[in-house]
Each structure stands twice: as structure tokens, then as C-alpha cells.
Symmetry: D2
Subunit: 323 residues, 4 copies
């Protein structure tokens, strides 16, 4: 291994900067040069590849987003685009590439590696926490804590007015953010894309909660829930509710940014370091992750063939505690 | 003055608890009893009026929302409802009432006082900052700081992706939140209900900003802007923009809750204290406020006849700095 | 099992309220009554034991500290005091007790259970993260995130002035907080009670960092480090440093309070629920914990015979990344 | 006016970056070039003076500290050092200098302007809020809100344990931070450098508070209080207190950094813009400030001859509300 390149791809997630810093400094500790690629695969196709030193990743650990930038690239989805990318890697004498992103990014990285000499290692950077091969993805902890802060604010208003609030959180295909927000936010009900939506049950739960003397109710809804998000769910739930004033809000893009939490900084540091280790070990087309407290490597392909299941015990815990 | 009652009415705003605490303790300091009314005018009509002591307002200064609760009351809008309210005030031997809320609440309070022996003083509690007679309303500072925290998070994503973001903030009839968010959030453009919306100019400003090398752009839109909010504005702005990826988000209800800032705690303390002072001075149907650093009293009626104008110099400052 | 009592003991830690809520509601879900004991063992000795319902633990999940109160009790350390405590448990028909606290509290609980019919289960509530039998203690995640927020603020000043900062964090016998703050805060050096303090090496690391062009340096020191805390360490490090302006600050008590993070709310919920489960299973004198993502039960006695070791890989990661 | 230079000097304070950005962009709006001076007067003496554009002050508005750096300079305190500084200003064709800092920095700026052709305008950047000529200094609002967040955390612990806490905040010569923290933090007592310290009265107030049923007490102490700070005050207060468990903590350097609040961003923007305006008007040796909601200019010399008095009404309000 002479030179390692690093890029971030797909949606930004908090902790990406910690991972970039760890890649650069771990490589440095092993006497290996690093190059940074700007704007994800788009920058790779365009040859936006420059050397980066340990000094230049100072002061980024605590920043949200990704200071390398990220972008979609339709050209990289073509064989020709990837040939261009490989050419720029060759020019820069890069033989290992660390890709920080989600399953879409890993597909691209996998294809690149199959078609050329470059070896690739993935770091799971997505707020959705739905990648097989790791218990936690980079950014999930921050995203949920950010959503939670907003939910705490909404609770003040809900409690002041004695209201029912429907709160939509991110998660098009996955209920991780929704479930953890619901558990930690004290919601009466949580709606996930993974489970069928029973509008009548939501209505009954809410009605019973108010009947039992609850002063207010929060229902947390993943954007990808069957009901089609919080607004359409709310419409269907409230018809038939007696004496309940309600409001709906979608937290939206604020869930993505912000200074990463301790967990995401430490996880980013661990995984960036582990990615360099994997490249040094000669691994290719693997994602580094943390499972049960241990670092592991998984074939990149599992990220699009598998899906990290929501743990059933947490769903039943949610039911027990929402009373 | 034998007994003072205090209630919060209309939308909750951070700092209301500081004002309640100040009313109770300032009255206590003058040897006057206090009663708290639960759930605003609705509670007053229903006779939910109880004694409250200095000890019972411990530990609320830093909490968002209003611990007395607030609610709309259609009955209070009738003469009969207000007669009922006056009856409960008589029973509790209350001769002065502090109403913490906005212009709608002050109209109700004004009518109550005109029709019966009760004297009323208003404390401007609304996040909108649009009440004449005070430079700052209770909750505005917190609401803008909360919105700003969200805008800072969105900036991380906007910068990572090189995107244009349209961010909708609260303000149906007033652009105070929008203007301050834009100034403090580094927006390229701000849209207010008070000024005509020039879609073409927004488009040109944004295009020029990107042409001049800006990496990303934020446009802050008050919900009551002529264009009809951020989503419809965005649709009209982006058609015709070249090479600009954009997103839209509405901050929604998170702007209302949360622990009050220092300013809102101090302002709530000052105005709650000043409201007791005004009652002791024999004043009636006035709002207490702070103007140019001094406490002032204004007829309640000004809250619905006048409107606190957005200062022109801030709008031109915004223009100068958004480059 | 007829009735379960719950108390918090020792230093308060964020997430205790989540655990109390979970105990009450999980018991409720199993049809079991709950009593709350105020002010820890002191309240138990005094008989401050009252019924508590699911409704009464509403609105506490997001609050720091413990709403049951906590206190030291010299009387409970005597056999006579514990006899008194058992008497009050008998009067309230309590046959299972959940103790949320650290190793000192668990010793007391263990003695109580050995001397009388009461069965006890512990929930690890301490910010120090040093209890065997669980990967994470309740409060650790919040404490480190709080310290980190402060370290981020100090970084602003350190970077503005080009300074060396020594930052003291909590941890009299354990370096967990210090190590995680150092890793996540981008420190140049971390000092732990568990490892010998090499003042010369700290000095050399710092000097080299500045020589290599670092603009500023942070050194994180556990209060229980061999050097005797940040102030005395700083004195010894800076003599011999060339051209380095330095400051020292101890974060102190702010690390203990504050609204719990998502992790601490979820962990508190899981462990409170698991404690009820353990009592229902007939277990006694065990602590519930989470290890490698699984709930486990450990003899209470391990909390004072063992010590959760700092993982060596994190220390060497710290070294690799601090360049 | 051909070219304006800008520097930050003295202790960093949040909002300095907003002011720098405003100077650069307001000058740009008037068609005037700007130079940035690194590291305060030290950088000026050394000639670290470079052009800066509107584009280069993007993305700094929300950052704490000062991105220009700041440092003390013993050379600038000599006539020879200032001659060197003037030489570098001449070389860069700078005829107006904006100095963002406190009274010490303004003395230096004043001397520089008296001895050479350069004209200087000051922007009050200090967290202490003790400068005559402005109601608020840049950084005060953020510093108090930061301290307040810490005080809110400490309250959790104080309430959980039923404790008395002494909290030391910044303010060597001025009690502004202390008073506002006390008012907004719900302290029982506040100690300021400006008023004599009556240890006995503090003790009696605290004792009475506990006797009246207060669950906990906070006493806020400015570091420059007569008693010599929180630790020595605590020692003297607690001897003679019955049954009160107490703790002492000094908030320290965390009060200085952090992302500026809305107020400090807006104030920095207003004053940076006003400083350019003042230079264009031909003014020299003035500080721009905001008084009673209006922008004003004051001779720099007032910053060291006068002192912004603590308003008496706030002190008596504090007394009324601390019950």
C-alpha cells in the first residue's frame, strides 16, 4: 500500500469528518500518504484529487457535514465514468480507497474495484442505521439526539396546550430513527416502515391515553411509514377522536447536520482507523463496522442484499413503557 | 389591591414561566396574595382558580412552555362567558389580573375589564415580536435562537452538498423572526410578510451568489410571506436557475418550545414585576413593555390597533452583508 | 412479587429518571404495584415510602438529576438502620427493591438483602462507567457529551489565542470520561488514573505538536490522575516548554446534570424494565447491565470486587490520532 | 478612505467573527478594500497584514472565537512598536483601522492614532459588558447564556441532593455576568465586585431559604467579588450554617467560547457595519456602540475613564424575586 485516498459520498452525516481525520492520521502513523477526493465520486471522475496531511485535518473533528463535500454523480454510474475515476487514481498512485457513505455509495465502490486494480473499503456513514454489518452507522446517534432535542421542545408546547402532536422523523425505508426517538422521547406510539400501520389502534391508544389522564400525547412517525408520513396519518387518526386538539410537524433536514455527538466522533475515529487497517491487511470490497463492541469486516455487497432488522424487544419495550 | 390572579393565554412562549414566577414573588414582596388560573381564559370561565405561593413557583424559571397551561375559549368570547369569569374572580376576591399573552388575549382581557370591576394588566408573551409598546416580546429571543440552531445544522448539509436551501420560519403576519434569522444565519435573502415578494430578484440574487463562488445559499422565508411559504416560493424561484440543487424545509413547531434564553428569563422577570407594580399604581387595561431600555405602559388597545414595524435599517444591513 | 419499591442513591446521574419511569411502568404492565422511596437509603430508614403510579412518572424522562432525590445516610450503614429500613418495607408490603446507583449503593443494598426478606436488584447509575457487568453505566454518555460541549467551547479560545489548555474532567478512580473526552475532543494527550503519569512525555508531546505547526493543544486530565489533577500537572508540564501560553480549567459539577442523551434515556428504560424482570424471575442481589448489546445480570458484589478495565485499543487509537 | 484594516485584540469573545464579516462586507458594499491583520496588535507590529474579500468571510458568522486570532503584544506598548505598526499600515495603504476588543485594546489603538496618520474605530468586543458607550458588548449575551446552561445543569444536581451550590462566574472588575446569571438562573444570592460583600447576610439568606422550605440554593459569585471568589466565600458562609450540604464550582473558561447567540451575531453585524460608516464619516478614536436601541459613537478614551454601571433596579428586582 503506497497511497490511500478518502472520499465521502451520498447524504452527509455527522461523524464523517471524524472518519476522514482518522483515515489520514492512521495512514500517517503507518507511514502511508493520503489523498482527499472532493465532492464524492463526482470529484473522482473529474480528478479532484489532492494530497492531504495530518495537519490539514486539524479542527474538523467537531464539525457537522463533510468538509470534503459530497455529490451525486450520474457519470460514475457508467463504466466509462468509473474508468475515468480509475485513471485519476492511477495518476495519483492511489492503490486503496476509503469510501464513507451508505449502500448506494458502496455499490459504486464495489463496481469500481471489480473493474480495476483499486482496492476499496467502506465506512458506514448514514444517519439511517440500516446497514447490515454494523450495530451503529455514523451519524445515527447525532441525528436521533438532534430529533430528540426538537421533540423535547415540542413537548413543552404539547403539555402547555394539552395537545396531541404527530412528529415526522427521517427514515424512508427504516424505522431506527423513529423507534429510538419514540423510546427516548416518551411517545405514546411509534410508526415504522417495517411494520403495518394500524390507524385504528393508534386512534384507540391515543384516546385511551387521554382518557387515563395523560395531559398530552406524542406520536412519532417515520417518513416512510405505510400511512405516507405524519400529515396523512394525522388526518386519518383524528377523525373519530373526541375533544383532542392536534398539530403535525415534520422535523426535516435539521436531523442531518450539527456537531457530532461523542459516540459519532469515537465511532468515526474507530472506523476510519479500521478502514486503513483493512487496506493494509489486503482486504478489498469490505465494510468495516462495530458489532457487539467488536470491530468487524463485512462484504460490501451485504449492504444492499441485507437490511439491519429493528430489534423486536425494543418494540415491545416501547409498548410496555407507553402507558 | 388584595389579591392578584395570573394566567397565560394564546400560544405558549418561552419566558412565560419567568413572568408567572415574577408576578407571584413580586406580589408576595408587597404582601399581596396571588391566585393562579389554569388553562387561560377557559380555566377562568370554569373557575379553575387556586392560591399559589412563592414556594410553588420554584424550579420553573428555566422551563419552556407555561406550567399554568393555556387554551382557547369560545365561551370567553361571549359576554356571558366573561360574566362567569368575573364571578369566579369575585369569589376568589381577586381585584387585579395579569394576562400573559398576545393581542388576541389582550382583546379578551380588555373586554373583561370594561364589563366588570376587575383591573387587568397585560404582559406581552408571544414569539412574534409584533406588539406595539415593547421592543421585545417574551419568547422572541428564544424562538430565534432555536431557529438559528436549526439553520446552523442545515448549513452543514447545504455546505457539504453545495446546495440552495429554502427555510421557512414562523411569522404569519410579521417578519421579525425571519429577518433576525436571516441576519444572524447568514442568509442570502429574507422574505417577510411586510414587503412585496419579488421572485425574480430572489432568483437573480441566488444565481449571482453561486456565480460569485458562494458554495451554498440559504433563503429564509416567513410562513406568511406573499409567496405563500417556502415550498411554493422555492418552486417559482428554481425554475430558471442553472445547475442549482435545492431543498426546502419548514422548521415548524420546534420554534415555540424549549428552555428560555437569558433575555427571555430576565424580560419575563422584569415584566412580571412591572405588571404587579402597574396594578398597585391603580393602572388598568395597560400592557407593560420595555422600550429603549426603559419599562413603559401602553394601552392594551394599541396591541390590536398598532403593529411594531420592522426597522428599515436592518433590512438594508441585511442587503449589505449578504454578499 | 406483590410490590416493588424504587430508589436512587449516591451521586445523581442523567438517565435515573428514565430508569425510575421504566420500573414503575414495567411493574404496572405486569400488574404489580410500585412504591417510590424519597432521598435514597436515608428516606428508606425514615420511612419516606409512598405509592407511585404510571401517571406520576409522566414528563420526567427528559429531565436531569433524579426526581426522587438522593442523599447519603450514615444510619443505613449500621445494622440497626437497615433493620429500620426493612421495617418500613414490610409496612408497605414491599418484597422487591430496585436500587439505582453505584458500587457504594450496591454494597448497602446487598447488606439489606442479606439481613432481611427483601430482594434487591441494582441498576448501574453513575457517570463514571467503571462498574463491571455493564458496558455502559447510566449517565456516562450524557456526562461525556456535556464535557465535550465545554471542550468545544474551550477549543474556540485555545485556537484564537494559540494556547495550550489543560482541562480537568471527572473520574477519581477511573479514566473513562477522560479517555472518551480526549478521543472525541481531539486532545493531544489524555491522563488517566489507571496509567502512570509521565510528565516529561506530556511535555515532549506538546512541544512537538507546536513545533509541527499545531495552532493549539488540549490536554485532558482525569481528576484522579497520579499528577493530582490538571492544575498541578500543568505546573510541572509547562516549566521547560518554550513559547507556549497556557491555561487550566476544571469542568467540575456541570458534568453531572442536564437532560439525558438518547442513549441514557434508552439505557435507563431498558435497565429499569430489566430490573423488574429480574425480580419477577426471583433473582436477588444482582445488577442488571448491558454487555455486547445483550442484557445481563451480575452479582452485585462484582461491583466492588471488580473494575471495568479501560480498553487498551482505545488508548493506542488515541495515540495514533493525536498527531 | 482607500483601505480599511480589521483586527481582533485582547480576550476572544463570541460575535467577533460576525463583526469581522460585517466590516469586510460593508466596506465591499462601499467599494473599499479590506485587509485583515492576524493575531491582533502583535500581527500588526510583525506586518501580518493581507487582503481579505467578502468571499473569505463566508461561513464564519456562527463560529466562536476569532478566526483572525488574537494575542498580547508587549512591543506594541512601546512607541517603537507602534511606529513599526504604522509602517506596515502605510505599506498596505491602509488609512482606517477597526479594532475589535476591550478597553486595553482601545488604549493601544488610541495611542497608535495619536502618533500617526491612521484613523481608528473601536468595536466593543468583550464578554464583561462593562464598557461605557454601549448597552451591550459583543459576547456578553453568549457568555451569560453559556453560563446559564451550566447553572441549569448544576440545578439538577443541587435539587437531587438538596444542596447549596456556590457558582463562580467570570467578572474580575464587573458584576454584569454575575447579576444576569443570578437573575436568569434563579439564584438566592448574587455577589458582585461593585458592592461590598456581607458574608453574614448571605448566610442568613441561605439559612432562611432552607428554613422556608427551599429544596436547594444557588449562590452566584463574580470571580472579582470582595470575598475573593466562590471557594473562599463558601468557606466563610457555611461555617455556622445548620444541616446544609454544599458544593463549590467555578465555571471558568467555558464562558468565553461557543457559537454566538442571535444577539451577538446581530450586534456584531450592526457594529462592524457602523465602524465602517464611522470611518467613512471621517471619525477617529471613537467606539461604536448601541444605546437605547440606537447606534452611537463615543470617544475611545471613555472606555478607560468611565465604567458601565450596574443598574440599581436590577439588583432590587433580584432581591424581590429571590424568595
Amino acid at each position: 500500500m503506497r497511497t490511500i485516498a478518502v472520499l465521502t459520498s451520498g447524504g452527509d452525516s455527522p461523524g464523517m469528518n471524524a472518519a476522514i481525520r482518522a483515515v489520514v492520521r492512521a495512514a500517517d502513523a503507518h507511514g502511508i500518504r493520503t489523498m482527499r477526493v472532493a465532492s464524492g465520486f463526482a470529484g473522482l471522475v473529474d480528478g479532484d484529487v489532492e494530497p492531504i496531511t495530518s495537519r490539514e485535518v486539524s479542527g474538523i473533528l467537531h464539525l457537522g457535514g463533510t468538509f470534503l463535500g459530497t455529490a451525486r454523480s450520474s457519470r460514475f454510474r457508467t463504466t466509462e465514468g468509473r474508468r475515468e475515476a480509475q485513471k485519476h487514481l492511477d495518476l495519483a498512485e492511489v492503490d486503496g480507497l476509503v469510501v464513507i457513505g451508505g449502500d448506494g455509495s458502496f455499490r459504486g465502490a464495489d463496481a469500481l474495484s471489480r473493474e480495476g486494480p483499486i482496492r476499496v473499503v467502506g465506512v458506514p456513514g448514514t444517519i439511517d442505521n440500516d446497514l447490515a454489518g454494523t450495530d451503529w452507522t455514523l451519524g445515527f446517534d447525532t441525528a436521533v439526539n438532534t430529533a430528540l432535542e426538537s421533540i423535547d421542545r415540542i413537548r413543552d408546547t404539547a403539555a402547555s396546550h394539552g395537545r396531541l402532536f404527530f412528529i415526522e422523523v427521517m427514515g424512508r425505508h427504516s424505522g431506527w430513527i423513529s423507534l429510538y426517538c419514540g423510546l427516548a422521547g416518551g411517545a405514546t406510539h411509534v410508526l415504522l416502515p417495517e411494520t403495518p400501520t394500524d390507524v385504528r389502534r393508534v386512534r384507540e391508544d391515543v384516546q385511551r391515553a387521554f382518557d387515563l389522564g395523560k395531559q398530552f400525547c406524542l406520536v412519532v412517525v417515520a417518513e416512510g411509514d405505510q400511512a405516507g408520513g405524519a400529515f396523512s396519518l394525522a388526518d386519518r387518526v383524528v377523525e373519530g377522536l373526541r375533544d383532542v386538539d392536534h398539530r403535525v410537524t415534520a422535523l426535516g433536514h435539521i436531523q442531518r447536520g450539527g456537531s457530532p455527538t461523542m459516540r459519532d466522533r469515537v465511532l468515526g475515529s474507530l472506523l476510519g482507523d479500521a478502514a486503513v487497517e483493512a487496506l493494509l491487511d489486503g482486504d478489498d470490497r469490505v465494510m468495516v463496522g462495530e458489532r457487539k463492541g467488536r470491530l468487524e469486516r463485512t462484504p460490501l455487497s451485504r449492504s444492499w442484499t441485507d437490511h439491519e432488522e429493528i430489534p423486536e424487544p425494543l418494540i415491545s419495550l416501547m409498548d410496555r413503557l407507553a402507558r
